[in-house]
Every structure is written in structure tokens, then in C-alpha cells.
């Protein structure tokens, strides 16, 4: 089974802090994704990566950056956390090509105080 592991289930940070959310997958997937999930808004794509050191903006990239130095690891970075970034963050991975299902991690519930 595909395993997508997010480093923290719950995280509390303060406004202005630099926050790192880590995601690791163990199935040699080419694609990795970061989503934000908010009640009533569904999942919105922040950034994705289709190869090592490659990244593309999703629908809501403002205030975020990403890093993919190794194929199995995809990091989401909040450069200066703000309260409106309090949310559930989901990481996913998939094989390259179309019709490949995305496999999700358990999510990180991030609170910015």
C-alpha cells in the first residue's frame, strides 16, 4: 500500500513564524501535491511538483512556498504565518500520467495564533 506520511497531525504556531510542513511518500511517485481544506470550500490546490526540484503554482499559492529536493519528500513553507492560514493541510502523491489516483496523507491541522 502507498504510504503518504505528514510529519505532524496537529501544529500550533504564532503569527510571523516560519512554518514547515513535511510530507514523505514511499512509492516512488513522480507527482506530489499540497492542498488546503477549509469547511465549505473543499480542497484547494496550493502547489504541486511533478519532479525533483520542479514546482508549479496551484490555485492559491500566495503566502506559501514549496521545496522538493528529493523525490520522496515535498515540503510546504509558510514564510510568515498569518491567522488566515489556520487550516487543515493535506499532502498527496501520484504516479505520473493521467487517471492516476492521488494518495493522501492524514493531514496536518495547523493553528496560527
Amino acid at each position: 500500500d502507498v504510504k503518504v506520511t505528514q510529519s505532524s497531525r496537529y501544529l500550533v504556531k504564532r503569527t510571523g513564524e516560519k512554518v514547515f510542513l513535511e510530507c514523505v511518500q514511499d512509492m516512488d511517485h513522480e507527482n506530489m501535491f499540497w492542498y488546503r481544506q477549509d469547511p465549505g470550500l473543499g480542497l484547494r490546490l496550493i502547489y504541486f511538483s511533478y519532479d525533483v526540484k520542479m514546482k508549479e503554482k496551484g490555485d492559491i499559492p500566495e503566502g506559501y512556498s514549496v521545496s522538493r529536493e528529493k523525490k520522496e519528500r515535498f515540503s510546504l513553507i509558510l514564510e510568515s504565518a498569518s491567522t488566515n492560514q489556520t487550516s487543515m493541510y493535506l499532502c498527496a502523491s501520484s504516479l505520473g500520467g493521467y487517471n492516476q489516483p492521488q494518495h493522501f496523507g492524514d493531514g496536518t491541522r495547523l493553528s496560527i495564533l
Binding site: G42, F48, Y98, N99, Q100, P101, D106
Partner: protein, 115 residues
């Protein structure tokens, strides 16, 4: 840009009954994939079922089936013989077959199955 609409924020059904969750989408693409994902409370999101737009036959996975109406841009999910473990948030998602293989999700439908 594609949009996916799930018009039912919440639904409830009793065990053993059948329930249908609706999903409509808007696209100018002719070839694409459609997916239903399930997110149980405090648990991981998992794929339920997927449908290729070029296939007329509706996809089926055990108790889960879809009614795909391409002309109407409708993709509903039918759950037969509902079980307590079906209680979850259900998301409909769209993937076009050009460019990057990203998903566009609907806002979700919370399904509660009661005894």
C-alpha cells in the same frame, strides 16, 4: 477553468438504504476523468471510484456506482446498502487530459449513515 459543484452540503440515510450524491461540472474539455473521493471523520481521504469521460459505461465498485451523463455534465454517486462505515465527507473531482494532472474538487457532501 473547470468548476465542480456539489449542491448537497449534507445528506443522511439509514443503514441498508440507497443514497445518491450529486455532482455537476463545467468544462470545455472533451476528454477528462472524474473521481469520487471519501474522507471518513479524522481519517485519510481515499479514492472510491473513477470514470473516464470517453467511456459510456458507468463505473461500478461493489456497492458504489456512478451515473455519468456527459451531455448534462453530471456525475452522481450511488451508494447501495449503506453501512455505518460509509459515514464520511464525499468529494467529487475533475481531471482534464491536457497539461498537468491536477484535480479540481467540489466543496464536498457530508453523508451521515444512521442505524
Amino acid at each position: 477553468a473547470q468548476t465542480v459543484t456539489q449542491s448537497q452540503p449534507e445528506m443522511s440515510v439509514q443503514e441498508a438504504e440507497t443514497v445518491t450524491l450529486s455532482c455537476t461540472y463545467d468544462t470545455s474539455e472533451n476528454n477528462y476523468y472524474l473521481f469520487w473521493y471519501k474522507q471518513p471523520p479524522s481519517r485519510q481521504m481515499i479514492l472510491v471510484i473513477r470514470q473516464e469521460a470517453y467511456k459510456q459505461q458507468n463505473a461500478t465498485e461493489n456497492r458504489f456506482s456512478v451515473n455519468f451523463q456527459k451531455a448534462a455534465k453530471s456525475f452522481s454517486l450511488k451508494i447501495s446498502d449503506s453501512q455505518l462505515g460509509d459515514t464520511a465527507m464525499y468529494f467529487c473531482a475533475f481531471m482534464k487530459l491536457r497539461g498537468y494532472s491536477t484535480l479540481t474538487f467540489g466543496k464536498g457532501t457530508m453523508l451521515l449513515v444512521s442505524p
